[in-house]
Symmetry: C2
Subunit: 269 residues, 2 copies
């Protein structure tokens, strides 16, 4: 592992996904923000086959919070999004849930893997934040060096069998004259949450205090900025856990799967 | 039934979907082309729960031929796309498959329904043919009063578990100066097959003779027209049948489910 860590370049943005995954496989635990520029980072949920149809259907019914990029079939550990990869080792850190409760955070799943496990790979908003920035739109949590603030809302997702839960949103404050551009640009990425679900008026989503997010970090909201809310990839993980599967895994927050897909693959005209 | 048939208006295009479904529920068997203008007609596949995850995953992996509009969970007979409807009776005619072989065509499923059956509702190209025509693009099979020609290709779909098969395409011949418009317009309807998968050169798809379609009817191809190929909703039905589920149902060809959704619901900007 030392050898690999020593060989880690100063600029991790230049790594190819397979190189990054090799570092994580060798034991490196680090958040992945800024790694492998231009490649798609993804949320991961892994559940037993008994829950697979319902999780897949939940994603189909709630495509904005649950944008599915790929599924590994029962027991599969590699696939098109991670060629020559291994889903059990190639994420920097994993959460383990038992009966829906967090039971630990680990560096790999080698000890706990089962052959009936089905892996769901879901888009994340990293993919549209780069094009927002390229268009001159400042992303507050990136400027402020913290995680995006996320809020549980009073809006319900469409349930699927045993899987149900509230919509979780992420929030980026924007000046009035950039909101249209942010809508237009993020709408071109429907595979990674797409356009905002709500603009302004947090109370209408049941959010009482923007300074107290349910997940992530609060951001300062500059004067005359309006909170803009996107559907968030925490939604499916929260809903699946509420159904209390005997065993489930996720990526640890901020420690994403870096896939072989290019962000540009998910842009529509 | 007589009463309902007597009350059938001369112009079935003006009926609401619930009214049309009531006629079919009462026993009317008729192709649905031209019914309920502006409302979305759909392909239907019904399989036992044992096959549901794989069929859903096949659709997720092959969204162009298998654009999923909705799924009824095991045993469910109604849902958002057919409010107060009944999937067992509200299609004018159904095909029954046993072990993947056609075992009959019936007017309803009341006698053969099982509580473990899962219904998949998929978009159909009727939805984008109307906007093509509104843009001045002639649709050959409509002009010629026949069914669209469909061809089995040598291109394989992404398999999912036991479900695999070739891509099936529909073909509309177009003049060179209208192909861009046809691409642009159909691309705005990704939920109903979206943009063409192939333009010109049928041999590259393994199609030897356009005058001999595998399904539907041949159309005359006007001089200087180029064959344009769209992914076709026959694809999933053919693939599911190849996996030989003990029991499965579909809509009879041309006898579609008329849903409560509006075609415009599926248009993206």
């Amino acid at each position: 592992m030392d050898e690999i860590l020593t060989s880690l370049p100063a600029d991790v943005a230049q790594l190819k996904p397979a190189q990054a995954r090799a570092h994580f496989r060798a034991g490196l635990r680090t958040p992945t923000a800024g790694w492998c520029a231009g490649y798609t980072q993804a949320n991961v949920i892994i559940v037993p086959e008994d829950y697979a149809f319902e999780v897949l259907l939940f994603c189909q019914r709630n495509p904005k919070p649950c944008p599915l990029l790929g599924v590994l079939e029962p027991g599969q550990t590699a696939g098109p999004l991670l060629a020559d990869g291994d889903i059990r080792t190639d994420i920097p850190a994993y959460t383990i849930y038992r009966d829906g409760e967090l039971a630990g955070t680990v560096g790999d799943l080698n000890e706990v893997w089962q052959d009936d496990l089905v892996t769901f790979i879901l888009g994340c908003s990293f993919t549209f934040e780069t094009p927002l920035q390229r268009a001159g739109i400042r992303v507050a949590h990136i400027d402020q060096g913290c995680n995006v603030p996320m809020y549980q809302t009073t809006r319900r997702c469409a349930p699927a069998g045993r899987i149900s839960g509230p919509l979780v949103v992420s929030m980026r404050p924007l000046p009035a004259d950039q909101i249209s551009d942010a809508v237009r640009i993020s709408a071109r990425y429907p595979a990674v949450h797409g356009a905002p679900v709500h603009i302004g008026n947090p109370a209408a989503l049941g959010i009482e205090d923007l300074s107290q997010p349910d997940f992530g970090d609060p951001v300062e909201i500059p004067a005359d900025h309006i909170p803009v809310f996107w559907a968030c990839g925490v939604t499916p993980q929260a809903a699946v856990m509420q159904s209390r599967p005997p065993l489930a895994f996720g990526h640890a927050p901020g420690h994403m799967l870096i896939t072989d897909a290019h962000d540009s693959d998910y842009q529509i005209p």
